[in-house]
């Protein structure tokens, strides 16, 4: 294929990757920013979201869009409840100690993975896309649904931004992020904010998964890569900076697509990985972070 169309295709692919990554990483970033903890089980909430989406769509008959819309509601809800429960039962008792949380969420990762394997099984299962059309460019065809994912993700991120900046809930979150002690003094229920943030973070991961599951299949090991990528995005974007997270997701998603045009695929992965490492080495606070990490 000629260079131009090839680059166009790689950019489209990069944009879809970036859209889903941004949603997923936003969840991790929120938890990171407000609670100052690393949730290693974040990728498993993503996987859980995809698996529940499969359950829901296979139970709802009729047009695929019906099941998909139901999954958009039910899946994040269940994942959110599970996350809130985990926060109450485990993380709170650890007093959000960073290292203890890493271990506990690694434990959670194993528990969720085993639950999915024991109930859902080891197969990768597909979910039908709610809309089914192809855009035929002169050089190649492209899935219309993938283009819609970019739009849907943008809308949801806008919604998150509006909630954070224009609602009381958002204000409470920002206040807690800024200084939990002072927030408590102003009668903000910090405990409940933490539980809520942890749940919302997981729900964003689940939403990203519901969007991706008609493109990729639900599989019990699918949480691994999004976790790594989300980590990268959150760090590169700068700790706790939501805007940075979104920007970093776009940069990483796009560069992952475009570097692969110029190098052999595995070499491209090596270079992209080293690039991330070097960005952090020379900008330890991330590209957009104000605070040192």
């Amino acid at each position: 294929m000629d260079f131009g169309p090839y680059l166009l295709l790689a950019s489209l692919e990069g944009a879809v990757g970036a859209a889903v990554l941004a949603l997923t990483a936003l969840g991790l970033s929120l938890v990171f920013g407000v609670m100052r903890i690393v949730n290693v089980a974040h990728g498993e909430f993503y996987m859980l979201g995809a698996v529940i989406a499969w359950w829901v769509t296979s139970m709802v008959g009729g047009h695929p869009a019906l099941g998909f819309v139901a999954a958009m509601v039910v899946s994040p809800l269940i994942v959110g409840i599970a996350a809130a429960a985990a926060e109450r039962l485990v993380l709170r008792r650890l007093d959000y100690d960073p290292e203890a949380t890493i271990v506990a969420t690694i434990g959670l990762l194993y528990v969720i993975q085993q639950l999915a394997l024991s109930t859902y099984g080891a197969d990768a299962r597909p979910v039908a896309a709610p809309i089914d059309f192809r855009v035929q460019f002169p050089w190649f065809g492209y899935s219309g649904y993938k283009l819609c994912v970019i739009g849907a993700s943008a809308v949801m991120m806008l919604a998150v931004w509006l909630v954070l900046t224009h609602t009381r809930v958002g204000l409470m979150m920002r206040a807690t992020q800024h200084d939990p002690e002072t927030a408590r003094a102003f009668a903000i229920p910090v405990d409940r904010v933490y539980a809520g943030v942890f749940a919302i973070g997981a729900m964003l991961a689940a939403l990203g998964a519901v969007l991706i599951v008609p493109i990729q299949q639900a599989h019990y090991l699918m949480g691994h890569d999004p976790l790594l990528l989300s980590f990268i995005v959150v760090i590169i974007g700068g700790l706790g900076s939501l805007r940075g997270t979104v920007l970093a997701a776009v940069i990483i998603g796009m560069s992952d697509g475009i570097i692969s045009v110029f190098f052999s695929p595995t070499l491209a992965k090596i270079l992209a990985t080293l690039l991330v490492a070097f960005v952090l080495v020379w900008r330890p606070a991330g590209l957009f972070g104000a605070r040192p990490a």
């Binding site: 690393v38 485990v90 008792r93 650890l94 100690d97 290292e99 203890a100 890493i102 271990v103 506990a104 690694i106 434990g107 959670l108 990762l109 194993y110 528990v111 969720i112 993975q113 085993q114 639950l115 394997l117 024991s118 790594l228 980590f231 990268i232 760090i235 700790l239 595995t266 070499l267 992965k269 090596i270 990985t273 080293l274 991330v276 490492a277 070097f278 952090l280 080495v281 020379w282 330890p284 606070a285 991330g286 990490a293």
Partner: protein, 311 residues
């Protein structure tokens, strides 16, 4: 001889005696556990004593594994040379990574080490022509000989694993009791203050990383030579998380913790997998339970409550 040194000598003596008393299956397991515990002890130097949370130690283990494996496969270098090469490779890799990664701290350090390790893992796959990628390769049995003894022989294997583990454990004990170890602990507790007291923090951390890399390299090389297999799995992220788990289980910043943690986690999986297929669930709950009720690991909690002199 202080009681701390006495305790560690007693543990080593116990392990040496176990060679003659254990049934075949557990005898073999213990040899493997000692090699893996050497890896965990290496991790403990940086994580436990210096407080640096690395998620990239698989690359140091892998460096030793591949140094020994490739030297045997293509260079015809047999076991003792392979072990030396493994130590050098692990230390060198840690030094190079350290010079770059130590510009960062905290979570950024964790991610940078993770990224370097991921790049190292992909490099192994990229050079599949020599490494055979994920499938890996088997080390020829005539390369697995030390002083005319066959490392595949259970007794020889046990002694070799014992020697590697003993050296690493005594090395850890020396670090823990040295002034270098106290500087590391000071950095862990308060890096800024340590710097203001006039210590070269960067140099101390780099030293810690290099020592840790050398130990991990030794463990990797020993694993390759004792068990005869070299593969990319051992350089994957899973093998960066495992030493973290072992150390946390046994107790970070305790000399015996890594061994205890490795031993317990090994048997937890081994025993649970024979009566349920859901062994990941058991491991998961064990981790959550440990961190809820023994947050400093088993020996860390013991040290806090019963034996304050434990190094």
């Amino acid at each position: 001889m202080s009681r701390a040194v006495g305790l560690h000598i007693a543990v080593l003596a116990g392990l040496a005696l176990a060679q003659f008393t254990l049934p075949e299956y557990h005898h073999g397991n213990l040899a493997r556990i000692m090699v893996l515990a050497a890896f965990a002890s290496a991790y403990n130097i940086t994580f436990g004593y210096a407080g640096m949370l690395s998620l990239g130690h698989a690359m140091f283990f892998g460096a030793g594994l591949y140094a020994a494996g490739l030297a045997a496969e293509f260079g015809g270098i047999a076991a003792p040379g392979g072990l030396v090469l493994g130590v050098i490779a692990g230390a060198l890799m840690a030094a190079v990574v350290g010079v770059l990664a130590l510009r960062t701290t905290g979570v950024s350090f964790m991610i940078v080490t993770l990224m370097f390790a991921q790049a190292a893992f992909l490099t192994v796959l990229y050079f599949g022509e020599w490494t055979r990628g994920d499938e890996g390769f088997v080390i020829a049995s005539d390369m697995r000989r030390v002083l005319g003894l066959d490392l595949a022989d259970p007794a020889t294997r046990y002694w070799a694993a014992f020697a590697v583990f003993g050296a690493v454990m005594l090395g850890s004990l020396a670090v823990a009791r040295s002034s270098f170890g106290r500087v590391l602990a000071a950095i862990r507790e308060n890096e800024e203050r340590t710097r203001m007291l006039g210590y070269d923090v960067f140099r101390a951390k780099l030293m810690a990383l290099a020592v840790s890399g050398a130990m991990a390299g030794a463990a990797g090389a020993a694993y390759a030579l004792l068990f005869g297999y070299v593969g990319a799995t051992f350089a994957s992220i899973q093998y960066s998380i495992l030493p973290l788990l072992w150390v946390l289980t046994g107790g970070a910043a305790t000399v015996l913790g890594p061994f205890l943690g490795t031993l317990l986690m090994f048997y937890l999986i081994d025993v649970s997998s024979s009566f349920t297929t859901a062994h990941m669930m058991i491991v998961g709950f064990a981790l959550i339970g440990l961190i809820l009720f023994f947050p400093k690991g088993i020996l860390g909690t013991l040290r806090e409550r019963v034996v304050p002199w434990l190094p």
